[in-house]
Amino acid sequence: MASFTPTIPASHPTTSRGKRADLPPVVGGGDGGRPDPGWPDYGARLRRARLGLAVALTPITMLFVAFTSAYIVRQGLPTFDPHTNTVVHDWIPVPLPTLPFLVNTCVLLLSSATIECARRQLARQVALEPVQSIPGVSLGTEKNFPWLALTIVFGFCFLAGQWLAWSDLAARGFYVATGPSSSFVYLLTGAHAVHLFGGIMALLAAGAAVVLNRPLAARRIVVDVTAWYWHFMALLWIYILALLEFAH
C-alpha cells in the first residue's frame, strides 16, 4: 500500500481540534487536466464560455417551444359557443406585414455577417498578439474595420424596423388583443426583439471593453459568445417568420 505524501499546511490556519485530514497530494494540476498550448487560462475560459452559452440557449429555446405549442394548440382549439350550442373554431389568421419583415430579415442576416467578421477579426488579433511582442517584427498597422460597431447599428436598425412593422399592423387595426392570431404575432416577434436587445447590450459591453482597454483575450471571449448568440437570434427569427407565414 503506497504511503501518503506528507502534508503541507494551507496558508490559512484552520480551527480544528484533533486529527487533520491529509491534504491531497500535489500531482499535476489544471482545469480537469486538459492542457492548452499558449494561453492555458484563455483557451479554457473560451471553451467554458461557449459551453455556458450552449447551455443558456436551451431555456431560450424552451421559451419559444412553449410559445409555439401554445400557438399551434390555439389555432386548432375548438370552443363552445353558447349562442349556437355548437363547437366552433375561431382562428382567423392576421395578414402579416410581410414586406417589412423581409426587409428586417435581410438587415438581421447582414448583421450576422458583420458580427461574424468581427468575431474572426478579433480571433486573428488574439492569435497574432504574441507575434507583436517579438522585437523587430511588425505586422504593419492593420486597419481595424469597425465590424462590431456596424453590427450594433444593424441591430438597432432591425429593432426600429420591427417597430415599423408593428405600427403597420396596428394601423390596419390589429393590436395585441384584437384576436388570437394578432396576439401571437406580437408575442413571438416581441419576445424575439427583447432577446435581441439583450444581445445588443452585450455588444455594447464588448465595445466598451475596447474603449476601456480590457485585455484582448477577455474581449475576444465576449465577442465570440455574443456572436454565436447573435447567430442563434437570426436563426430564431427565421423560424418565427416561417412559423407565422406558413403555419396558419
Binding site: 370552443t79 363552445f80 353558447p82 350550442n85
Partner: protein
C-alpha cells in the same frame, strides 16, 4: 438507538396500516354501476401497495437495528451492488406497476371512452361562483340557447343560466338547484361553467369531472340506488368554494317523471 428507530418506524407503520385495514375512514357507500369495478381495482392496488409499504418499512427498521455498529460487529460488507438482483427487482417492479395500470384501464375505458347510451337521462350541469344549476331539456329533448350576456345570477334559475326566451327550445327547459334523476338508468351530464373551473364531484357515485368554461363536457354515470347524495365542488373556484355544494336525489322512474312534470307545469 437502532432499536428505538426500529420501534418508532414499526409503530408508525402498524398504526397507519391499522386505520387503513379497519377502514376507520373510508370511501362512502357507492351507489353507482361503476362502484363495483372501481372499488375492486382500488382494493387490488391497496393490497399490493400495502404489502410493499409494510415490507419496506419493516425491513428498514429491521436493517437499522440489525446492522448497527457494535464492537462485536464484523466489518461492513464491501459490496458495490448486485447486478442480478437489480435486474430482478427492476423487472418485477415494472411488471407490477404497469400491470396494475393495465388491469384498471378497462374501468377508465368504460367510464370515459364511450359516449352516453341513447335514452340516458340528460342533465346539463352548470357551475358558477358559487352554486350548481341543473337543466333538463324537457319534452322536446333539446337544450335551448343560453347567452352569456343574458346571465343574471341574482335572479336564479333560467336567468342565472342566461336562457334566451326567444329560442323556442328554451321554453320547456327546467332549471333547478337540486339534481333529480331516475335510478338504474344512465345519466348523461353535460358539464359547463360560466366563470372559472369548477368540478362536479359526487363521492357516492364515484364520479368526478371538472367543469371548464368554454367547454361542454359530456360524461355519464348510472345510479343504482335511490337516496340523497351530496355533490361537492372539487376544484378551487374562489372564496365560496367550501360551500359550493348541491344535492343529487335518485328516485324511481315514476317519481322522476312526476317531479319533472310538476316542474314543467310550474313554468306555465
Amino acid at each position: 438507538m437502532g432499536l428505538v428507530i426500529l420501534c418508532v418506524i414499526w409503530l408508525i407503520t402498524l398504526a397507519s396500516t391499522y386505520f387503513f385495514v379497519a377502514k376507520t375512514w373510508w370511501f362512502p357507500h357507492g351507489a353507482s354501476a361503476a362502484t363495483a369495478a372501481l372499488d375492486h381495482q382500488f382494493a387490488v392496488t391497496f393490497i399490493l401497495m400495502g404489502v410493499i409499504f409494510v415490507a419496506a418499512q419493516l425491513a428498514l427498521g429491521y436493517f437499522v437495528w440489525r446492522y448497527r455498529d457494535q464492537p462485536s460487529a464484523t466489518r461492513a460488507d464491501y459490496s458495490h451492488g448486485n447486478l442480478k438482483l437489480e435486474i430482478i427487482w427492476t423487472t418485477l417492479t415494472a411488471i407490477l406497476f404497469v400491470g396494475l395500470n393495465l388491469l384498471g384501464s378497462p374501468i377508465w375505458a368504460a367510464e370515459r371512452f364511450r359516449p352516453a347510451v341513447d335514452g340516458a337521462t340528460r342533465v346539463e350541469v352548470t357551475g358558477m361562483q358559487f352554486a350548481w344549476y341543473f337543466r333538463y331539456p324537457g319534452p322536446d329533448g333539446k337544450f335551448g340557447i343560453a347567452r352569456p350576456e343574458l346571465e343574471d345570477p341574482s335572479a336564479g334559475g333560467e336567468a342565472a343560466l342566461g336562457l334566451d326566451p326567444a329560442d323556442p327550445a328554451s321554453k320547456d327547459d327546467v332549471v333547478t338547484g337540486t339534481m333529480v334523476v331516475p335510478v338504474d338508468r344512465e345519466v348523461e351530464v353535460i358539464l359547463r361553467a360560466h366563470d372559472v373551473i369548477h368540478s362536479f364531484f359526487v363521492p357516492a357515485m364515484r364520479f368526478k369531472q371538472d367543469a371548464v368554461p368554454g367547454l361542454a363536457i359530456h360524461m355519464h354515470f348510472t345510479p343504482t340506488e335511490t337516496g340523497n347524495f351530496e355533490i361537492t365542488c372539487a376544484e378551487l373556484c374562489g372564496l365560496g368554494h367550501y360551500k359550493m355544494h348541491g344535492m343529487l336525489k335518485v328516485v324511481s322512474q315514476d317519481e322522476f317523471d312526476k317531479w319533472l312534470a310538476d316542474r314543467e307545469a310550474e313554468k306555465q
